[in-house]
């Protein structure tokens, strides 16, 4: 039992470090971590594109992809090692996670040769950024309840409807869109998957202002957008199967580190700087137990991650325990935010520059979002109980009916 690189891994890591040292600068120790719920903007986009091109030219882009599509056919562990080392450098945030991690593999699995040749090389080089258009106002956890329609007209499809929670829509060139092409078919059978031009005049993008004031996502409206049939991915009516390919590639690492940037050390510093009953809060038994409880969950998540990496390193698939990461991390993050505010007493409700330490309130305001993003707590518990443990699903009343006959959305 060890955490050491194998000789091959160590050699690869040295090679990665050598290239990164020559092409980037290390982060300072107190640099803030990137926030999932904040959007990348402006200059950052061109910097991110430049960095991706540089990686491509040096042979470090889309490491796990086949060489035919511009990848390196590296092992999972090599890709992890590159990611670990890259995260130590001061670099623009990645805007390619969804494209490279989810959408590229979907095109490889279901695309025609023409589609692969047209889209994959520019995706690897980073010249074109991609977004995912799945969720709708009436179809979130129940994704197959989506209603955006696509109607065949000659060689084109005409799309009308609305998507939501789209990260990066405003700077993306292409989107992956799931539509309903047959409302008289059963719920999962009437869907079709397309590649859509985000610069089409019928596509309108509006940022969503979140409850914490930030805007990390968009709504995207489609009005008579024409998509050529050559941009259909997979067969008509087979969109659910294609969408599942995308979702299976969704990175399980959202929030895997746990707690939204605030560390146990930060919490201890805060408890040393605040008082309870005229004594430093860190001397209070309740405070001490709570900090220990957070630390136990944090280390549990950290070493769950190490178990997964270990499986990769041994050439195996990580075990199902990886599925607890976001569930445990987001709930604990919310609790840590609340606890940090509580340590500040009445001043805990002061925000921004009026706060002595706004991290905790920001965490408190951010974590409800993380508890929903990429699968709500409840959906994750369904996944663990049904797919990991093998418990039976709920009885369904929407099976075997035409989609148009199934109630959906919010009754008014």
């Amino acid at each position: 039992m060890d955490f050491n690189d194998s000789p091959e891994e160590a050699a690869y890591r040295a090679k990665v470090k050598e290239w990164l040292d020559a092409n980037a600068t290390l982060k300072s120790a107190d640099a803030p971590s990137a926030n999932l719920l904040e959007e990348a903007e402006g200059d950052v986009i061109s910097q991110a594109k430049a960095w991706q091109l540089k990686k491509f030219e040096a042979g470090w882009a889309c490491l796990r992809w086949p060489k035919a599509y511009g990848g390196q056919e590296a092992t999972s562990m090599e890709a992890v090692i590159f990611g670990q080392e890259e995260s130590r450098y001061d670099l623009p945030p990645s805007i390619y996670g969804i494209g490279h991690g989810m959408l590229g593999p979907t095109i490889m699995a279901h695309g025609t040769d023409e589609q692969k040749e047209r889209f994959l090389p520019d995706m690897v080089k980073g010249a074109e950024v991609w977004c995912q258009l799945f969720s709708e106002p009436d179809a979130g956890s129940d994704l197959a309840g989506l209603k955006t329609s696509a109607v065949k007209d000659g060689d084109d499809w005409v799309v009308n409807g609305q998507k939501i929670w789209t990260t990066g829509a405003q700077f993306c060139r292409w989107g992956m869109l799931v539509t309903r092409t047959d409302p008289t078919a059963a719920k999962h059978a009437g869907l079709t998957y397309f590649i859509v031009d985000m610069e089409d005049s019928g596509v309108e993008i509006r940022p969503i202002k979140q409850m914490n004031g930030a805007s990390g996502f968009n709504e995207v409206f489609f009005t008579d957008v024409r998509i050529p049939d050559s941009q259909r991915l997979g067969a008509v009516g087979d969109g659910w199967r294609v969408a599942i390919t995308t979702l299976m590639n969704e990175r399980s690492s959202i929030g895997g580190g746990g707690g939204g940037g605030a560390s146990i050390k930060d919490l201890i510093k805060l408890a040393e700087a605040t008082e309870i009953n005229g004594r430093p809060a860190i001397e209070d038994g309740g405070v001490r137990r709570q900090i220990a409880d957070f630390a136990v969950r944090r280390s549990g998540l950290k070493y769950t991650g190490q178990r997964g990496l270990s499986a990769l390193s041994q050439g195996q698939t990580p075990g199902p325990e990886a599925s607890i990461g976001k569930l445990v991390a987001a709930i604990m993050g919310l609790e840590m935010g609340e606890f940090g505010m509580e340590l500040q007493g009445a001043a805990g409700i002061l925000s921004g520059e009026d706060s002595i330490d706004p991290t905790w309130q920001q965490t408190y305001m951010g974590m409800p979002g993380l508890r929903l993003a990429g699968g709500s707590d409840e959906i994750l518990r369904n996944i663990i109980s049904e797919r990991v443990l093998g418990m039976p699903g709920e009885p369904r009343i929407d099976k075997g009916k035409a989609f148009k006959d199934i109630p959906s959305g919010t009754a008014r």
């Binding site: 039992m1 955490f3 050390k265 201890i268 070493y303 769950t304 663990i384 418990m391």
Partner: protein
């Protein structure tokens, strides 16, 4: 990297499971429980013959000379079987204390005796209700004699010898006492889980010999308990896994409102949370096993984290085990209470989770400084 147990270690685990399935069935655990027998002599002899008592004891003292990773595998199986034997007291505590601090003569006598299955040992620390502190120790060692009272002592009524924390001059020392000698009076106590018996031991000028240096008793006790906590956490995790599996099997086969109760979302979500608790505990246990095997400086934090999370995982699953079973879960006849009792006893063994949280946070604060 390979942050996992080896194939050989996993094979040892599966061999241990096969043996305990035969020799430590829940029916056998219940026999020992209802007879108030303290432990199963038959099972103790069996595990001694298999060499489990000496897994981590060096070969020169009759052991197998493996490491803690192998011992952790066996500990997990002892836990999942609710094995009614004084394994932890003897192997995690007594043998460990003597391996760490014993003279060559002491090792020859006690480690060889433990490995052969001839000696049952335990560690006797507590005297007063509440948290164990240096100031709470009243037992006194002087001139080769020990006097005082220890309560409760795990497996104290079945052990052949005890390692006792006692005052010596101005400090605390550990001493080894033959519990069958003159001057020792033992009383079996009623306790939550009679398969892990507890005793009061009174010493009146009982002959004793020091283990390790004078005045080092407190720090050695902390060290030994920290190391034992790692193995105990594996035992707790094993118990949690078994309780979870029994509950799961029941839910899949119990029908209500025309469906298996395992199909109800309110119950599935609780099982998902219990799964998460166990995986958090398992990962902390792996970290702690790695730290113990490598004598790593992170051991105190890793051991505390493993003990806390495994205690919580075992406690939580047994509370829900009864609830998920419904009325039958509350009967004497069903096995739920055997798990519920064992979980609580183990979470009080080597210090409560509150005590381990305090130890952990003390280390965290030192690290943050």
């Amino acid at each position: 990297m390979n942050f996992d147990f080896s194939e050989e270690q996993k094979l040892l685990q599966s061999t241990a499971r096969d043996y305990l399935t035969e020799q430590s069935s829940l029916a056998h655990v219940r026999e020992v429980f209802e007879a108030n027998a303290g432990h199963s002599e038959q099972l103790w002899k069996g595990v001694a013959e298999l060499g489990w008592l000496g897994v981590a004891i060096p070969e020169e003292y009759g052991g197998a000379g493996y490491g803690y990773l192998e011992l952790a595998m066996i500990a997990g199986e002892i836990g999942q079987a609710l094995a009614p034997i004084p394994f932890g007291s003897t192997v995690y505590l007594a043998a460990e204390a003597i391996s760490r601090q014993g003279s060559d003569d002491q090792k020859k006598k006690f480690l060889t005796g433990i490995a052969a299955g001839d000696l049952v040992g335990t560690l006797a620390t507590n005297e007063k209700v509440g948290t164990l502190t240096e100031a709470s120790i009243g037992a006194t060692f002087a001139g080769g004699k020990l006097s005082g009272t220890k309560i409760p002592v795990p497996d104290g009524d079945v052990a052949d010898f005890a390692i006792v924390l006692a005052k010596e001059g101005d400090g605390l020392s550990l001493v080894i006492v033959d519990l069958t000698a003159k001057g020792v009076t033992r009383t079996r106590l009623d306790s939550l889980d009679p398969t892990r018996s507890q005793a009061k031991i009174e010493f009146a000028d009982a002959p004793a010999e020091r283990l390790g240096a004078a005045g080092e008793g407190w720090s050695v006790t902390q060290d030994v308990q920290t190391r034992a906590a790692v193995l105990m956490a594996f035992e707790q995790l094993g118990g949690a896994d078994r309780a979870f599996q029994i509950t799961f099997d029941f839910m899949m086969n119990r029908f209500a409102f025309g469906r298996p109760i395992a199909s109800f979302q309110s119950l599935k979500h609780r099982m998902a949370d219990l799964y998460a608790d166990r995986e958090v505990a398992r990962s902390n246990c792996y970290w702690a096993a790695w730290a113990l095997e490598n004598d790593h400086e992170e051991l105190p934090q890793a051991a505390a984290s493993a003990k806390i999370s495994a205690s919580d995982a075992f406690d939580n699953v047994t509370v829900d085990m009864i609830q998920m079973h419904g009325g039958v879960g509350y009967t004497w006849e069903y096995d739920c209470h055997l798990f519920y009792r064992r979980a609580k006893v183990l979470s009080h063994t080597l210090g409560t989770t509150a005590e381990w949280r305090e130890k952990l946070v003390t280390h965290l604060i030192e690290d943050a400084a």
